[in-house]
């Protein structure tokens, strides 16, 4: 079927309207049926149209009566709690769509400012044309990035492993409890630039009582 966008308004053309009614009514009935089967629930539909004096029903006249009496048995408040008409239903849809729109706009704004940040970083774009709002958001985003980078830098530096050029510093200072933990985490997922095999490093780094520890360190770093 073609996917032309249909305007959400009463169809003025009589034959088009009748054709649409037939198709959509059939589709609606199918959807009710599917919902009922898939979810194992009771449901009914009553459709009055200008084309028929009798209403179209699902599942059947008796089925409808059954569901209706079930419905009527429920307390008044339960019946009306989730009851909607066109107006309330449309208002709900509008509210939901507005929420989505707000979120999408916010996300897009962040993407734009991110782009702006990288452009001004390489002087591809100057700061002159920007208004206070843009500058404000730009400054905020830069701060966010700086914070993340600092955290990342710290997490890489935390395990106080000697750098290749600091051979003389093979003796590491004793580490406190939390630092050891961070260091152990480092062991578990070694950084690529370390270039050593995990197996060699199972003994705690801070343990200074075993001299061969340091020897193992040296071997690992300087094959």
């Amino acid at each position: 079927m073609t996917r032309k966008k249909v305007k959400l308004a009463y169809i003025a053309n009589d034959s088009a309207r009748k054709a649409t009614y037939k198709k959509r009514k059939r589709g609606l009935m199918k959807k009710v049926s599917e919902l009922s089967t898939l979810c194992g629930i009771e449901a009914c539909a009553i459709i009055f149209s200008p084309y028929d004096s009798q209403p179209e029903l699902w599942p059947s006249p008796i089925g409808v009566q059954r569901v209706l009496s079930q419905f009527k048995k429920m307390p008044e408040m339960e019946q009306s709690k989730k009851m909607v008409n066109q107006e309330t239903f449309l208002r709900q849809r509008i509210a939901k769509a507005n929420e989505q729109l707000k979120k999408m706009r916010k996300d897009n704004r962040e993407k734009e400012i991110t782009r702006l940040m990288f452009q001004s970083l390489t002087a591809a774009k100057g700061l002159h044309g920007l208004n206070m709002l843009d500058l404000n958001d730009l400054g905020w985003l830069i701060d966010q990035n700086l914070k993340d980078i600092t955290i990342r830098i710290d997490s890489l530096k935390k395990p106080s492993l000697p750098q290749p050029q600091a051979q003389a510093q093979a003796q590491a200072p004793p580490t406190t409890q939390p630092q050891t933990a961070a260091w152990l985490m480092e062991l578990v997922s070694p950084q690529d630039q370390m270039g050593f095999v995990g197996d060699d490093m199972l003994l705690p780094f801070g343990d200074q009582t075993y001299n061969h520890n340091n020897a193992m360190w040296s071997n690992a770093f300087f094959p």
């Binding site: 449901a43 008409n85 729109l101 500058l135 404000n136």
Partner: protein, 226 residues
Amino acid sequence: MRKSRGRQKVEMVKMPNESNLQVTFSKRRSGLFKKASELCTLCGAEIAIIVFSPGKKVFSFGHPCVEALIERFVTRNPPPSSGTLQLIEAHRNANVRELNAQLTQVLNQLEMERKRGEELNKLRKASQAQCWWELPIEEMEMHQLEQLKASLDELKKNVTQQADRILIQTSSNANPPTQLIFPTQIPTPTTTNGPNQQPGLFVVDPKNIISHLPFNYGSYGSRGFF
């Protein structure tokens, strides 16, 4: 960022998985009411749908109204008609027309934003292919992180200075200054390509920048984009 599984073919039996069943009910019920609403608008039909949830709650949709339609079905009477009732119905239909128009407008705006978002994603991907500093920081090496940090620190100073400049200008438009506070031109930046510099990033010599008033984001009451 693919969240849903897309269109799947579904077997017409009661769903085995309890939580999937609940989700399906929720989505399909919503879709069902939407279709009913559209049928009412497009073809002038009057529809009542009653649905019991797996949790035994009842949902109902009715246009013009559930109770009246149930009444009409049960008593098999043609709908009552009077001048007043017709007026009420005309008023209600006018409301619905307006709401539909409003909904259409919001949905169109939503679609526009979605497209804009995809465009921005595309642009981001493209520039990430060219510029290492646009990649996620988790993938960066230490020297890259440090350089990026330095560049961002510098950029931050520039942004602050530019903001100060605007602040001063807007306040000085009311009171013309008696003497110059800022230089009339920002210093032209020089790109230094020292041994630690990756090509492409731009670092300004701090000595060239004079910063005066600290830019307080708080004064604008903004916490970024929220």
